[in-house]
């Protein structure tokens, strides 16, 4: 008995054969899976909870800071400034590359790449691209000062205590 010869599959034709449609679909599916895998991995490695320091913390009573004090809390990376009955918190993280700026007579200066800031955190020299941000300061019901590093405020906004 003679085996029936299958018709050769047309290659190179423009017609959308079933085989070609299925190949396109599978290719699309495989490529899509790859994209989804990559994104899932990115989502996976982006932590939902962090274990570092909280961004909202209290720093003690207003009386702990005498008038004219400029106290740098290096662990919190803020400088508490008290001027009369006004109090504010200025970031001590250098806006250039994240080193801790030290409090100097003229304001702040960075040991890493030589950025200088004035008393209010405005850039006076060096490679820093912008001023040191000021953080929201509030008086908690228990009488302690709370600093919220998640909300930046305009420079010169003091809290009256």
């Amino acid at each position: 008995m003679k085996t029936p010869v299958k018709p050769a599959i047309e290659e190179g034709g423009d017609a959308m054969t079933r085989r070609r449609a299925l190949s396109w679909l599978s290719g699309f599916g495989l490529f899509g899976s790859l994209i989804i895998t990559v994104f899932s991995n990115l989502i996976f490695i982006k932590p939902r909870a962090t274990y570092g320091q909280p961004n909202r913390f209290s720093i003690g009573r207003p009386d702990d800071f005498p008038s004219g004090a400029r106290v740098s809390l290096d662990e919190r990376r803020v400088c508490i400034v008290r001027d009369g009955d006004k109090i504010a918190a200025i970031s001590t993280t250098c806006t250039h590359l994240g080193c801790i700026v030290s409090v100097a007579e003229t304001g702040f200066s960075c040991p890493c790449h030589g950025s200088h800031y004035d008393q209010d955190g405005n850039v006076t020299g060096g490679p820093a691209p912008r001023a040191l941000p000021w953080f929201q300061v509030s008086l908690a019901p228990n009488g302690e000062i709370e600093v919220d590093k998640d909300s930046e405020i305009e420079a010169g906004n003091y809290l009256r205590v």
Partner: protein
Amino acid sequence: MSNHTTTRPWKSLIELPENIWRSVFRNPLPSSDLGRASTSFTNFFLHLHPVKIHRNSLRAAFTLGLGLISFFLFMILVVTGILLMFYYVPSTTQAYDRMLDLRGTVAFGIFLRNMHRWAAHGMVAAVFLHMCRVFLTGSYKPPREFNWVLGVLLLLLTLFLSFTGYLLPWDQLAFWAITVGTSIASYAPLVGSQVKFLLLGDSTVGQEALLRFYVLHVAVLPAVLSLLVAIHFWRIRKDGGLSRPAEEDALPVEAPATQVEVVQGPAVVMATSAAAAAAVKPVLQKRQYGIQGLVRGPFTKVGNVPDRSVFAWPNLFMAELVVFLITVAGVLLVSLFFNAPLEEPVNVMHPPNPAKAPWYFLGLQEQVSYSAFWGGVGIPTIEVVLLLLVPYIDRKIAGVGKWFARERLLANFLFLTFVITNIILIIIGTFFRGPNWEFVSPW
């Protein structure tokens, strides 16, 4: 036959050592060309090399052995790195103590750490110099364009490996270098702060960052680097070995109308010269044969074709052994006399002044001190993109395989400008920058 074994049962015992030896090493030490070919062919490690290689590839003055040195340094780094992993703990509270333990209590601990550190410095230097060699000899020209691209990626991986390893001792140097380094990443447009957050796993450098850098350093990056190295080597073979001047190939060839065979193995291929010539690209037609006409610049021809190739055994293998021994000896010597630096334990409140990155990043840090974006992201990105595109910009096929070919005066001049600028920036960053990154005189 059965009679044989019954009468002399001890025979297999007597022959045991030899039989085992022969089952492992299929060839005795070769004394003929056939033997030299089969030795390369039947040994797993040797068969990564071609059976025959061009004499030009053996010229120490041409290659300076820099690619091999880079590879052997990587081997040293893998071995010493795995050994160090037995004692290291990626924890902010323990990492630094473990460094002290390596110094004080672990047998050979300080020596292994020295080897790892100095081999890492050496690898950065060797990979960079290898790139210079390849450029200045015009070796990235077709068909080797993509291997140059792989090489640039390998340089970047080497730098990133070294950067991630830098954090692990958790000393002052490490902490502040990583703080500065990841802040540079945050200047990248659009994705910058996301990249920084993903790298650190937190908003500041801490435990999460240490763990992440550890995983990158000991698993992810070495795996990727190994894969790219394998492809890099494989392509060297497929591109017909190392580059050489075209005239090296243009030998008078009397065409033997005979068949060519590749010695042994399942890949035995017979190809008539006519069939091969028909399949080989026109440019390569001066060559006589290829395995089914697929191999470019083949060295598999074993017939009586005159050429300038020599057997890999022993010429290439001895050369590789010598480079390997020199590399190991160099690392051992340096590690004997110089200890890897370890500074004070991390103090997140007081950056050292000045806080300096490792020497190969000091050029970058010097640039960064002028402008964080342009120095840290803009210019480096442009440099890397230009490096990647080099073989696609410079399409002239002239001056390949020669140091400082006259035809390549402009290209070499531009490249050397790039190299020297970076070296000058590194020198300034290393010796001329003091506290607050102010200009100081080293004298």
